[in-house]
């Protein structure tokens, strides 16, 4: 399966089943994009001779294509004709240690930071039960993960600190290693909290949407005030501390959401990069179409163009020699994940679960509060085996739309929570999300090809 596309004046061919990327000239493009490489050589030659190519050129291009096919780098066969998903083994838990929040962001999964629940802070006893649940359901896994999430997890810092200590202690006893990540709006990220994260090697995901007017439009306090000025101050302090910390074990990046209000989201990248931030993630909002900030089908042409602009902006920064990472474009075609991982994606519902403040288990943090998706509780009792099985088997090859999609190994079938929210079916990805993902991946492949050129130019210099 081939995907042929042009971007920035460059013609690229992505071979889906081998994960190989090729840059082609006009003649090779004519052969591959028109499917002429599948025709008898004589027939394709007749067509191309009519286009003005010489017989020698055509034969050269045909030979190159034949060589790449023989090397398994072009028109490779589907590497999986059958796939058995891994068994139910939990590797990671997302702990909603605080359902409440000191912000009231319009687009929050947690419904403006309350998740519709009244008891909003996770008790330590529940957090410890969650750690025990993870250990007892982790099978042979050695590397386990806990994400502190919310709401705003820093509102329950004593439980975060005690959970880290408890998990490390239990992990040592059972020969397992815990990794931790904390996602925060940064309002409470003071020097003491920052040092705790760094001393404990905890990864930090810091929420900021970009420019002041973008951020403050939807990320406000409960009193309706913008939060940008305070957030930027906290984030810059943390990043400076991280930069100067001797051998920091945890990574950190800033994470923004773009919506229908800022279709010029490349500007957010430029703003954040301009602050000196080197690790950036900008993601489309997940929302029902009736939300005033939702991304809609009519926005697609503008989004597609903005992704292209984002790619060019990113390359411009990278060309200056600066080490900058934009998660959109960090795809690894040479040594990325193995096929079972490519096919199963984030693992929601079978290797990755979320825990509400009350200890209820859900397929992921976005499902919390959707009661029909409650899997069980960390305090004990039976688990919903039917739900676990539903998610365990919801891999790329189980989704009719995905099987024939060129992006299947780069996207891994889309977000199950988004599928359910939009189409009430975890096997049916929303079409707009698919179109946006495909455009974003084209830009990522384009960036990969241009970065190769940058490296080669440096070698020449």
């Amino acid at each position: 399966m081939l995907h042929c596309f042009t971007l920035g004046g460059v013609s690229l061919v992505y071979d889906v089943h081998s994960h190989s990327l090729h840059e082609v000239d006009d003649l090779a493009w004519a052969l591959l994009s028109r499917g002429l490489h599948l025709e008898p050589e004589q027939a394709s030659s007749v067509l191309l001779l009519a286009d003005g190519y010489s017989r020698q050129e055509i034969e050269e291009a045909q030979e190159e294509i034949a060589q790449l096919i023989s090397e398994g780098l072009l028109c490779a066969p589907d590497p999986y004709t059958g796939y058995t998903p891994p068994p139910f083994i939990v590797k990671a838990l997302c702990l909603n240690v605080a359902h409440n929040c000191n912000l009231s962001c319009s687009y929050c999964f947690a419904g403006a930071g309350s998740l519709g629940r009244t008891d909003v802070l996770m008790p330590l006893a529940t957090a410890r039960q969650a750690v025990d649940f993870l250990l007892s359901n982790s099978g042979t896994r050695r590397n386990l993960e806990i994400d502190f999430f919310g709401g705003e997890p820093l509102l329950n810092m004593p439980v975060v600190e005690a959970t880290v200590a408890y998990a490390r202690e239990r992990g040592r006893a059972e020969g397992k290693k815990f990794g931790f990540t904390l996602t925060t709006n940064a309002l409470l990220l003071d020097d003491q909290v920052s040092r705790f994260l760094l001393e404990n090697g905890i990864n930090a995901v810091l929420s900021i949407d970009g420019r002041p007017e973008t951020h403050d439009r939807l990320r406000r306090t409960h009193g309706g005030k913008g939060s940008h000025a305070q957030v930027v101050s906290r984030i810059m302090h943390y990043l400076e501390l991280h930069r100067t910390w001797p051998d920091p074990k945890g990574y950190c990046y800033v994470r923004g959401t773009f919506t229908g209000y800022n279709l010029d989201f490349a500007q957010e990248f430029r703003y954040l990069a301009g602050l000196g931030i080197d690790d950036i993630s900008l993601e489309p909002v997940v929302a029902k179409s009736e939300a005033d900030y939702a991304l809609l089908q009519q926005h697609l042409p503008a989004i597609a163009e903005e992704y292209r602009r984002l790619a060019e902006d990113y390359l411009e920064v990278a060309a200056s020699g600066r080490e900058i990472r934009l998660f959109h474009f960090e795809i690894d075609l040479d040594g990325g994940p193995c096929l079972p991982k490519l096919l199963s994606g984030c693992g929601a519902g079978h290797s990755y679960l979320a825990v509400s403040a009350q200890g209820d288990l859900y397929p992921c943090h976005q499902f919390i509060g959707r009661e029909s998706f409650r899997i069980g509780n960390v305090s004990g009792g039976a688990l919903r085996d039917d739900l676990i099985e539903q998610f365990r088997t919801a891999h790329v090859y189980a989704k009719a739309k995905c099987r024939q999609c060129w992006a299947k190994f780069l996207c891994s079938g889309g977000c199950q929570a988004h599928c359910q929210l939009e189409n009430n079916d975890i096997l049916n990805p929303p079409e707009l999300a698919c179109q946006m993902m495909r455009r974003r991946l084209e830009c990522a492949l384009y960036v990969r090809s241009r970065k190769e050129q940058l490296v080669n130019m440096e070698k020449i210099v």
Partner: protein, 36 residues
């Protein structure tokens, strides 16, 4: 020397190890597993 096609990445999936060991951090294309 190829004149018409410049191959940018050549790491065929079929020639990689696919352990499915489940130890990687869990778009997934941005994670590198040393085993692959």
């Amino acid at each position: 020397m190829a004149k018409h096609i410049k191959t940018i990445t050549r790491s065929p999936l079929l020639k990689r190890e696919h352990t499915g060991c489940g130890e990687c951090q869990t778009t997934v294309g941005n994670q590198t597993c040393l085993k692959t």
